[in-house]
Amino acid sequence: MSGIEIILGILLGLVVNEACDISPWLAGKLVKKAAHLKYRDPERAATRAEELAAVVAERPGKLFKLATAMAFAAGALVTRLAVLVQDLGNSLRLYARSAQMLWWARPGRRSPPIVISKGTLEIRIEEANVEQVVEIIRQLHEERPGGVPTT
């Protein structure tokens, strides 16, 4: 065994020992962050942060504490991502609707014709001609007080 291997072994041992010692502290920090990440309501986030810290503190063993905190952090991350995706979907739907309305309201857009149908008869009136058609019907009313023929 070379000198480097011995030094590496000692260093690795120290790192593992230190990691085990800081894991409860890290778990406490992680679980508080997880609570604030998960809950948008600051009051509930503060409540859960302390409560989850108590839950982690009750777990036996240093690594178990860290594992529990990591599970809470993962759950919080998933919840936050789901909320973000939902918000993004809502925003995209809103943008799409706005774009559609702008498209319909664009200047110079030709509206679809107004269709009046009765039996096999179908009359298509372009939007630009509607006023003219109304005027013709009004004149026909004046000329024929008995009414305008329906066919």
């Binding site: 409560e51 108590a54 599970a71 759950g75």
Partner: protein
């Protein structure tokens, strides 16, 4: 009081534990609920969030003395309105949960003898 939007198996598990604690006039904290239901922490707390939002449960902080450092636990209890609602839900979805459970332990021999034909005489 609002109803629950989603009734999942973990919801029923947590309600079962809470109803049992309510019947025994006990309060139960998150870690104890996790242990009793054998469910993961995030799952249990998701259910607790929903139950709190629906006002089926209420939480109370543990009182720690000045010589007891550390984060406080939060104890949960079904509310006056939540208890009958939980019971109704469990009777519909999990009727066995409301059956009285046999207590663990030893029965005095005399009582067992009394159950025998002829009362053991």
């Amino acid at each position: 009081m609002a109803g629950l939007e989603r009734i999942t198996q973990p919801t029923l598990d947590v309600l079962e534990v809470l109803v049992r604690a309510f019947d025994n006039n006990e309060q139960i904290h998150g870690w104890a609920i996790m242990k009793a239901t054998k469910r993961a922490g995030p799952t249990v707390y998701k259910v607790l969030d929903r139950l709190e939002d629906a006002r089926w449960i209420t939480g109370e902080w543990e009182e720690l003395g000045p010589d007891e450092p550390g984060p406080r636990r939060r104890f949960y209890r079904l509310t006056g309105e939540g208890a009958p609602a939980a019971r109704t839900l469990l009777s519909q979805r999990r009727p066995a949960a409301l059956q009285p459970r046999p207590a663990l332990g030893f029965t005095p021999i005399g009582r067992l003898v009394a159950l025998m034909p002829g009362g053991g005489r």
